[in-house]
Symmetry: C2
Subunit: 157 residues, 2 copies
């Protein structure tokens, strides 16, 4: 297996949410404060032409002893199947990587304002990518039943 990979956060999330809560992320407005020690306005040039961005971030608040590698019922709902950590998107995962698409509201200096980002205040951001339609799934998307049930209140109010 390849050696360890070292990453440096490109910025930090500032969010009204200080703790992980399961639901109602849709209307949360937060900012990504890009590190002025590493980046300039040029790094974000043209980003505001996109309606959505994808963020890769680090679930920094998850302690080592909470990381899961096996299978469990998502949200401990016994009526949903036991699925492996790579078949769900829970935060207690190897490498603690979070991935979300959110609505881009504004780019002002090195501050990127977004809506619907499901990351708590202080979350280190590892990458920002523009959401490009042509990178969406090719072909029909199918999935089991439990994710739609889990997501019912995730983004809605």
């Amino acid at each position: 297996m390849s050696p360890e990979i070292r990453l440096k956060p490109i910025g930090l999330v500032r969010s009204p949410r200080k703790e992980a809560i399961d639901d109602r992320w849709g209307k949360i407005v937060s900012t990504i404060d890009i590190d002025p020690g590493q980046f300039t306005l040029e790094s974000l040039a043209g980003l505001d032409a996109f309606s959505h961005i994808e963020l890769i971030f680090h679930f920094h608040a998850v302690p080592d002893d909470k990381i899961e590698i096996g299978a469990r019922h998502p949200r401990n709902r016994k009526d949903w199947p036991k699925v492996g950590i790579f078949a769900q998107r829970g935060k207690n995962r190897p490498n603690r990587l979070g991935l979300s698409v959110c609505n881009l509201l504004k780019v002002e200096g090195l501050t990127v304002t977004v809506e619907g980002l499901d990351a708590i205040d202080g979350t280190p951001v590892l990458d920002i990518k523009p959401y490009i339609k042509e990178f969406a799934p090719r072909g029909q998307v199918t999935q089991p039943d439990w994710p739609a049930e889990l997501m019912a209140g995730y983004y809605s109010d």
Copy 2:
């Protein structure tokens, strides 16, 4: 800014593509060989119920001195606008994180077979997430003109 983050690959890509080529990734069939030293069959339980997966990987072949932080014309096409590294998805980016959705063909033991993964042979994989429709962009997606032109031959034959 927060301290350095250390990640350990969860597996490696095995692909017929040994070098980065811009286009025609759509029909490439590759595998992700999950590290048996870290994971078991349980880690992947239920993954095969999804038609698509999202992969976060490391553009390991990009050398330090190629990393960009400013703006440039994507693919050096002077007829497209100069955009910052966070307004494009090029591989020469801070933290070298790649992100792609691909079609899941098969899960067999610790080997995950996919179609349309734009990562070369030997790429370290950092996370696998199931593609869940409810995590797709909320609201209408808009983008400038250049990405559709750039993507014209990316997944097609």
